[in-house]
């Protein structure tokens, strides 16, 4: 399976990348596993937020082929 992974704001700067494609074996994994694969197993910041296909998702939520996964810090709009 292949997913698109995006990083935003301070996380984007720290990791030095905004968007990558990640290929994995199997047809399902979790958001947390995507983080590990996309960041070479860097430590997940405690307050990180995640989304699947632009909807907030928990770290143990299931991810499927073609999904767009995003990781970002607490939001500060408005």
């Amino acid at each position: 399976m292949t997913v698109t992974v995006k990083f935003f704001a301070s996380l984007r700067e720290q990791l030095g990348q905004h968007e990558i494609q990640v290929d994995l074996d199997g047809s399902e994994c979790t958001v947390q596993e995507i983080w590990r694969r996309a960041t070479e197993a860097k430590q997940l910041p405690a307050n990180v937020l995640a989304s699947i296909n632009m909807a907030y998702a928990k770290l143990d939520a299931p991810v499927h082929d073609g999904d767009e996964i995003a990781f970002f810090p607490p939001v500060t709009g408005g």
């Binding site: 995006k6 935003f8 704001a9 301070s10 307050n47 989304s51 632009m54 909807a55 907030y56 995003a70 970002f72 810090p73 607490p74 939001v75 500060t76 709009g77 408005g78």
Partner: protein, 151 residues
């Protein structure tokens, strides 16, 4: 229900007038509640010379449209408008405009605030400040219902 993300500086009053003229009949709604957030030239006493607002294109619009729809199911609204800046922002410029029109003033007040609080808490925007001591990502928004001295 309109949601706009704009990289251009906008005049909230001109935007409200345009929206009202195009989309509304003021003899029908009775009550209008508006919130505008502006960029301040300091944060906790440290001068801020400019700001960059990053967002998650696509998710932002989806989220704000979902907030608007949620408000419309909870209160009898005639219209709502959300405008949010992205990109480079100067002190004094409007960052966010939330306006709600209803026949009922309680609905207008409540829905305007609901949309604004949800936007602050969940809409995927991030602010980076340019300060005298360097660039700094704003770490989190303060909650808006919990007292008389929140941001």
């Amino acid at each position: 229900m309109t949601v706009e993300i704009t990289a251009e500086s906008f005049d909230p009053y001109a935007r409200l007038r345009d929206f009202q003229q195009q989309r509304l009949n003021s003899a029908q709604y009775g009550a209008e509640a508006v919130f505008v957030g502006y960029m301040r030239d300091q944060n906790n006493g440290v001068p801020v010379s400019a700001m960059t607002l990053e967002h998650y294109p696509g998710m932002t619009e989806q989220h704000l449209e979902a907030i608007s729809a949620s408000a419309a199911t909870q209160w009898p609204l005639q219209q709502s408008l959300i405008v949010h800046r992205i990109g480079n922002i100067q002190p004094g410029e409007a960052i966010v405009l939330v306006a709600v029109w209803s026949a009922h003033r309680a609905a207008a007040f409540d829905a305007c605030r609901y949309i604004m609080e949800d936007l602050k808490a969940k809409a995927p925007f991030w602010k980076k400040e340019q300060r005298v001591d360097g660039e700094r990502w704003v770490e989190q928004n303060t909650p808006g219902y919990t007292g008389k001295n929140q941001d």
